[in-house]
């Protein structure tokens, strides 16, 4: 749009703005420095006509030749150091094996130090070069207001207008409206594509895999446990449902803790019918945002979630004592099977874990 478009009805300004913007920079002569826009063109034509720059803007020699000489040696030293360090890096890569913790430490140290020195050498060298060897300069470049000349702005506005008119976008509302109507479903369509990223939630979050008769396994050892084996009051054990040791989705919901109390400590709202020999089982999934509520303080009987410090009162139905959790940890009904092992009497009677819209 720049050159040959002059013979239009418009003011022929469109040719100007690039020229106005690409001004010659550097220290402006004092006389010109005052004005902002006017003298731009005159300074420009001088340099633009293929003739080389008139005046030196950067001095060729350092401000302080003696210092520069000294600095030159420093810079060279830095660069040599950097070079040696890079070679050292390659040597360390070739020479030092990994595959054990100690070897990795050695390799990491050698590679890291040589790499750091290689970069530092370049950085320091280049900095000293700029500051001590290159002649000090401070140039001033004119800054022009973002706003173009009124003619340019008018022409630009005109361009918009003309385009709109030529496209008939304004005049033909049918086109305009159908186009907009066409884009709306088009914008929604890609969202539909995301549907198959996962199954619908359904009632998945309302249930865990616990069911009547399913044994509690102590987490880690993965062995069933009898109430007699868990006799030390004050202890807490993480338990998982038998058969789901390697099922992270099941564990993410079903993980629970059992705590053994002295007789008489447990009281409502703990459901005492769901306990066995003063052993109570709660969901381990915090009702705040689902971290495992893993810390148990024996003296106070508090269960603490280490993520956001929701605190639950273990002997009293794991009611919330402090923190952002809105509900007690759900209690899992316990009983024993014929061999005396602790088993679930049913699933949790409410959804475990964090709140969600359909939870109710």
């Amino acid at each position: 749009m720049s050159d040959p478009s002059a013979p239009q009805g418009l003011p022929d300004e469109p040719a100007e703005p690039p020229a106005a913007r690409h001004r010659v920079i550097g220290t402006p002569p004092p006389a010109q420095a005052r004005t902002l826009l006017g003298d731009g063109a005159s300074g420009e034509t001088g340099a633009g006509d293929g003739s080389p720059p008139m005046r030196r803007e950067l001095p060729a020699d350092p401000s302080n030749p003696v210092k520069a000489k000294r600095a030159e040696r420093v810079v060279a030293l830095c660069f040599i150091l950097s070079m040696l360090a890079s070679i050292g890096f390659i040597a360390a890569y070739v020479g030092l094996e990994v595959h054990s913790v100690d070897a990795v430490l050695r390799s990491n140290l050698a590679l890291g130090v040589s790499m750091s020195v290689a970069f530092l050498g370049l950085a320091v060298g280049a900095t000293v070069w700029v500051r001590r060897i290159m002649p000090t300069v401070e140039l001033t470049e004119e800054r022009h207001p973002m706003r173009s000349s009124p003619e340019d702005r008018a022409a630009f506005a005109e361009t918009f207008q003309e385009g709109a008119e030529a496209s008939q976008f304004v005049k033909r509302p049918l086109l305009r409206r159908t186009l907009i109507a066409a884009t709306v479903p088009l914008a929604v369509a890609p969202l539909v594509l995301l549907r198959d990223m996962g199954p619908l939630p359904g009632t998945t979050l309302r249930h865990t895999v616990w069911r009547k008769g399913l044994r509690l396994l102590t987490y880690g050892a993965n062995t069933p446990i009898t109430s007699a084996e868990f006799s030390s009051a004050g202890g807490m054990i993480t338990v998982i449902p038998d058969g789901y040791q390697d099922d992270p989705e099941a564990l993410a919901q079903a993980t629970a803790i059992i705590i053994k109390f002295q007789p008489g400590v447990l009281q409502p709202p703990t459901v005492l019918n769901w306990t066995v020999d003063n052993i109570v089982c709660y969901s381990k999934i915090c009702t705040h945002v689902g971290c495992p509520a893993a810390l148990y303080e024996q003296t106070t009987h508090h269960i603490l979630c280490p993520c956001h410090q929701s605190t639950f009162d273990a002997p009293r139905g794991a009611t919330v004592l402090f923190g952002p959790a809105p509900r007690p940890l759900p209690q899992l009904p316990l009983t024993t099977d014929s061999q005396g092992y602790l088993v679930a009497a049913s699933d949790f009677h409410e959804p475990v874990g964090p709140s969600f819209w359909e939870r109710g």
Binding site: G48, P292, P306, Q309, S310, P326, F356
Partner: protein, 567 residues
């Protein structure tokens, strides 16, 4: 000699091909002003480049798969442990790939430095007013980049599928579940079913290595282009005005300096990666929803959200069979939303309040915009309280106070501390303005006492140098909304009537509050007990450089309604 000739010819060769003579010359001579705070953005940029470099290396060895494997690698402590392939390959990178650990650690440190540099850069921009017209677009791009950076970091450190980051994902799941109506659907679609599923790591991986970096790269390019096109702002100083840029040219000065700075950044990160262990996932173990480690802290830029979740009370609604978990929803969205939305809207708001629609290329010293600085400090304090609360267990442990007390304190502090910060900052700024004014009027105290022949003792002062004056004497009378009067008793112009107009005027008074700038300013801003026996001799010369005055309330002179504005 041959280098010389090559240098002479290279321009011609380039011009033959790219019509480059004029454009490239302008480019070479483009001026970049100097100030230490301008390096903050460069740190962010170079950290990003280093992230791309080290990240590319890591992708060569990382396997974003949740397939379960049994580990039999070099880290014998985990021999025979079941883990995801992602975790196993991260162990492999750390212990069986030469330089792998170094690259991992540099990558992680670079991410932290990237975020820290963005925060610092953003604060610099805010406090010096560099976001003002015409740079609002770049300010907005910056906020988007900050948001993307947070997500990129969260997704990145989640990839190794270790116990710590897995807990972070679990929290993410809990937060997503809290979204009303569609929360469970979002969660199931993101995780490909119930948490944790088998899809989340591969999905986060492609978002982390492709989608977000591509977006960020595009935005950074635009960010730099705008900065380049609009020319860099500069701090006030001798010879620096709103219509020029003073500094060193790109070629060779800025090129060399910024190149050196890239290597400094890389060297610092390499040193950190060598000597400062970060994210030792082999100590955390592979993720299992059953386990967790105490003192689980996210990377620092996510600590804010951790703090909001910890601090917020347990409010939940159960309505007609549906649950609205305000206890998660509000802390996850509102505080950060307030900060980011506030930051995004601030340039517009300030423009509206002050009525200042002119371009600004000369930065403010923070003290010279007391209200803005005070708002900034209030925001930092707001952020800081949440951020500290995100580590309240560590704080409680180290200070030996109750965990719950730290949270209770934070619950009050989140409302009180920003207000205190605002007030204190504003007073400090105004005090510093008075100090500047004092310096301009009386010069620097030399500590020399001279006895006059009459026997009188006088303290000798040194007048400021031109450079010092140029740096100090930059305050302008605040712009007012068009036609707004500084006087109270007049009928306001149309734009300032009605409730909104009155609010605008009131805000204007607050935002533009400053120590009065007067041509012969003796006596103004001196309520603090300075005797003013010294005539403001140097001041007169100084003041002559100031042309602008308070915009006159030409149209506000319609008469004197006795009642306050707008009634």
């Amino acid at each position: 000699m041959s280098i010389d000739r090559a240098l002479r010819e290279i321009g011609g060769e380039l011009d033959d091909r790219f019509h480059a003579a004029r454009g490239f010359r302008v480019l070479f001579r483009k001026i970049f002003p100097d100030h230490w705070s301008f390096l903050l953005g460069e740190i962010a940029l170079y950290s990003f480049i280093i992230l791309l470099l080290t990240g590319t290396f890591l992708t060569l060895f990382f396997q974003p798969s949740m397939t379960e494997v049994v580990y039999h690698g070099s880290y014998t402590h985990l021999d025979g442990v079941k883990m995801s392939q992602a975790y196993a390959s991260t162990l492999n990178i750390s212990f069986d790939v030469r330089g792998g650990l170094l690259m991992r650690q540099i990558h992680h440190w670079a991410a932290d430095l990237f975020m820290a540099a963005i925060f610092a850069h953003m604060l610099r921009i805010f406090f010096t007013g560099a976001y003002r017209k015409p740079r609002e677009t770049n300010w907005l791009i910056g906020i988007v980049l900050l948001t993307l950076g947070m997500l990129e970091g969260l997704f990145g450190y989640s990839l190794p599928d270790d116990l710590l980051s897995g807990t972070g994902l679990r929290i993410t799941e809990g937060v997503l579940l809290s979204v009303p109506v569609v929360g469970t659907y979002l969660t199931f679609f993101l995780f490909g079913g119930p948490f944790p599923g088998n899809d989340i790591i591969p999905r986060l991986y492609v978002i982390h290595v492709l989608l977000i970096p591509a977006l960020m790269l595009a935005l950074i390019t635009a960010h730099l282009f705008f900065m380049f096109h609009q020319k860099h702002t500069q701090m006030p100083g001798k010879g620096r005005t709103n219509t020029n840029v003073v500094g060193a040219p790109t070629y060779p000065y800025f090129m060399a300096k910024t190149g050196a700075f890239f290597f400094f950044t890389f060297a610092a990160l390499a040193l950190a990666g060598t000597f400062a262990q970060i994210n030792p996932i082999w100590l955390y173990g592979p993720y299992t929803p059953v386990g967790i480690s105490a003192g689980s802290q996210p990377d620092f830029y996510m600590g804010f959200l951790e703090g909001t979740l910890r601090m917020f009370p347990s409010w939940t609604w159960d309505l007609a069979g549906h649950t609205v978990p305000w206890n998660v929803l509000i802390p996850a969205l509102v505080p950060l939303g307030l900060l980011f939305t506030g930051a995004a809207l601030w340039p517009m708001l300030e423009r509206w309040i002050t009525g200042d629609k002119s371009e600004h290329h000369l930065n403010d010293r923070p003290r010279n915009a007391p209200t803005r600085t005070a708002i900034g400090l209030a925001a930092i304090t707001f952020y800081g309280v949440f951020w500290l609360e995100g580590a309240n267990d560590v704080i409680a442990d180290h200070l030996d106070i109750s965990l719950y007390v730290t949270t209770e304190i934070a619950r009050y502090a989140i409302f009180i501390a920003p207000v205190v910060a605002y007030i204190v900052t504003k007073r400090i700024c105004l005090g510093l303005q008075r100090k500047d004014l004092h310096l301009l009027e009386h010069g620097v105290e030399t500590g020399i006492i001279r006895q006059l022949p009459s026997g009188e003792f006088v303290e000798q002062t040194r007048p400021l140098t031109e450079e010092e004056v140029a740096a100090l004497d930059v305050r302008r009378p605040p712009a007012l909304p068009a036609g707004a009067s500084a006087r109270e008793q007049e009928v306001p112009p149309p734009g300032l009537r009605g409730g909104l107009g009155r609010a605008r005027l009131r805000l204007n008074k607050v935002v533009t509050e400053t120590v009065p700038v007067e041509e012969h300013g003796d006596g103004y801003g001196h309520g603090n007990g300075h005797g003013n026996g010294h005539p403001a001799a140097e001041r007169a010369a100084v003041a002559s450089s100031r042309g602008e005055g308070v915009p006159d309330d030409a149209d506000g002179s319609a008469g004197h309604g006795g009642a306050p504005a707008g009634s």
